[in-house]
């Protein structure tokens, strides 16, 4: 039981990932596909953040021993900052991907007059 509850954030990751991936595959609307892609990527971000978190640990900011009236710095447990920092990069990449994707959708809408995959295929094959 504690295993299941302790892993709750990973279950959320799996659910989110599948929701995103399913949306990406099953939806015909190009904007909805991008939303699915973004949910998928966000699930990965959540996964990385969970990697770095240690229960009861504090943010990785160096605490000077004098700050807390004699509380020793050597007893402080920090979370691992590296996965969190990596995800800053991944967030930037995700934003860039989304914006490139959305601007492509805008152009597609201008060229075809629709953002629906089936309709686009129909128009292309009708040429």
């Amino acid at each position: 039981m504690s295993g299941m509850l302790g892993m709750v954030n990973y279950w959320a990751v799996i659910v989110l990932m599948m929701v995103g991936f399913y949306t990406l595959i099953a939806r015909g609307n190009l904007v909805k596909k991008l939303i699915g892609l973004n949910i998928f990527q966000t699930a990965v971000i959540m996964m990385y953040v969970s990697f770095g978190k240690i229960t009861g640990a504090t943010a990785p900011i160096l605490i000077q021993s004098g700050d807390h009236g004699g509380g020793g710095a050597e007893h402080v447990v920090y979370s691992n900052p590296i996965p969190h920092v990596l995800m800053l990069t991944a967030i930037v990449v995700g934003v860039a991907t989304l914006s490139v994707g959305l601007s492509l959708v805008v152009r597609i809408n201008e060229a075809y007059g629709t953002v629906d995959e089936d309709e686009i295929n129909r128009k292309d094959n009708g040429l």
Binding site: L24, L37, G101, V105, A111, I120
Partner: protein, 491 residues
């Protein structure tokens, strides 16, 4: 200066990219792009020479030592791939000047060149970095700029092709990030060398095979191994000519290199081949890729699309070589990586010449082109011979190694597949040759030869594909040494 060469190889083009976008005039931004590409070419060549002379170069970025900082690790395989990318980039940028002037409007040209330089930078970065998360960052730099480059195509279908590529490419990249994350959580490092040292200790844990699976699927999506190739044909067909020539010869090749890096350096031969029995998956897929995609190529009427399907088949050859897991097989894979870059680049550039004059690369519009554009079509025929694998061409060299690698393991049927694939290449190249040389030209259209600005780069690649076919010792030596380094694992 020479001490910092690995960093400068990446940083100089990276800085020149916004400059190309900001100068605002087509010719000026072209000059900036050309400077960036030729700089990269010179630097990559110097790097390869240094690696040959001194061995592996390890460069700590910003002076931060590996576990914390990012390391560039240049060995023979990475220097060779970086040189391939830079060479094709430098030749294509010359080609792009004339080709892009016709295909892309004046105000968009600077942005095109900026994206082009970024794409080149990203691809070279993947080749020389020694940090797995850095790989992801460079992968996204090159991919995002590639989506933009493809979307610049004339046809509106270029937009949907770019969109499709964006979706599939991002899924592939995200899979790679998942794989990297799972490796990190088990080992606590992102450095390739450290990973290789620490992975065997935890290889029994179920997380590592899962990471391996995610990475394999992610990278094979990027390199368009059958059946994950669906993004490729449309992207190559509708992108601007120069972009197709550049992407076809570099983007998938770098992904093949990335796969080699993950399989051999990070996970090691014992894990990937002995433990996971990877060849049982890779070999059948490669064989199907060669046969099925060559067959599909035969039935195409758009020649760019025909060549795109042929590319998927050729990637099958590379993966087939790698799937043997032997020095000879990996050598064949690396050799074909270089050789295919030369000939596919030349073929797509020849089609770009046709596109420039005729405005279409459909076979029914190409009748009689052999007379109207003799140099263009001659280049196409010669590069086509190389694709088929006629002796004295580079295509022959890689197929020779591939067949040898197959026979070494007693895989007669697989060697037969290589032969059948070559025959099928003969059929689809002949299809174009027949129309161009024996078809009746349309008398209403007066056609002239393509301008020199397009012909010269095309012929450089054609001559190179014969040069390295006749004198294959240099490339074969480098490829063999690179394969040996990869298979030996880390010192």
């Amino acid at each position: 200066m020479s001490e910092n060469l690995p960093a400068l190889l990446i940083v100089v083009p990276l800085i020149l990219a916004p400059v190309a976008a900001l100068v605002g005039r087509r010719d000026l931004s072209w000059a900036v792009a050309a400077a960036a590409c030729w700089w990269a070419f010179g630097a990559a060549l110097a790097l390869l020479r240094r690696v040959q002379a001194e061995g592996v170069i390890r460069y700590e970025l910003g002076g931060w030592a590996p576990p914390i900082g990012i390391e560039y690790r240049v060995d023979l395989a990475s220097a060779f791939v970086a040189l391939i990318v830079a060479t094709i980039g430098a030749v294509t940028v010359v080609y792009a000047r004339t080709s892009i002037a016709q295909e892309i409007t004046e105000d968009r040209a600077p942005l095109f060149y900026a994206a082009y330089i970024l794409c080149l930078t990203g691809l070279m970065g993947i080749a020389i970095t020694g940090d797995v998360f850095n790989v992801f960052v460079f992968l996204e730099i090159s991919s995002l700029s590639a989506y933009a480059l493809i979307a610049l195509g004339h046809d509106r279908r270029a937009l949907t092709a770019a969109y499709q590529y964006l979706i599939m490419g991002s899924v592939g990249a995200t899979f790679i990030v998942i794989g990297i994350g799972l490796m990190y959580v088990m080992t606590g490092t992102l450095n390739m060398v450290d990973l290789a040292e620490r992975l065997p200790a935890v290889a029994d844990n179920r997380t590592i095979p899962v990471a391996f699976a995610f990475l394999t699927v992610g990278v094979t999506l990027k390199l368009a191994l059958f059946p994950l190739h669906l993004w490729l044909p449309n992207a190559y067909t509708y992108a601007p000519s120069a972009v197709t020539a550049f992407m076809a010869s570099t983007a998938t090749k770098v992904s093949v290199y990335l796969l080699l890096r993950f399989f051999f350096t990070v996970f090691g031969f014992d894990f990937a081949w002995v433990g996971m029995e990877l060849h049982r998956v890779l070999m059948p897929l490669s064989v199907v890729a060669i046969l099925a995609m060559s067959l599909v190529a035969i039935y195409q009427t758009n020649v760019k699309r025909l060549l795109a399907f042929s590319s998927v088949a050729q990637i099958g050859y590379m993966m087939l070589g790698i799937s043997f897991g032997s020095v000879l097989g990996v050598t064949a894979g690396i050799l074909h990586l270089f050789n295919h870059a030369l000939m596919k680049g030349a073929l797509f550039m020849a089609m770009g010449c046709v596109m420039y004059r005729v405005g279409s690369v459909s076979t029914d519009r190409m009748a009689g082109l052999g007379k109207a554009m003799p140099w263009t079509m001659a280049a196409f025929v010669l590069a086509g011979l190389s694709l088929i694998g006629v002796p004295l061409t580079v295509g022959f060299v890689s197929k020779w190694y591939l067949v040898q690698a197959a026979l070494e393991q007693g895989q007669w049927a697989v060697a037969g597949v290589v032969m059948v694939g070559s025959l099928m290449a003969l059929v689809y190249i002949w299809k174009v040759v027949e129309v161009a040389y024996f078809g009746e030209p349309d008398p209403d259209h007066e056609l002239r030869e393509a301008p020199l600005g397009l012909l010269v780069p095309t012929w450089i690649l054609v001559i190179a594909s014969f040069w390295f076919g006749i004198d294959a010792t240099t490339t074969a030596e480098v490829a063999t040494a690179a394969a040996e380094t990869l298979l030996r694992g880390l010192p």
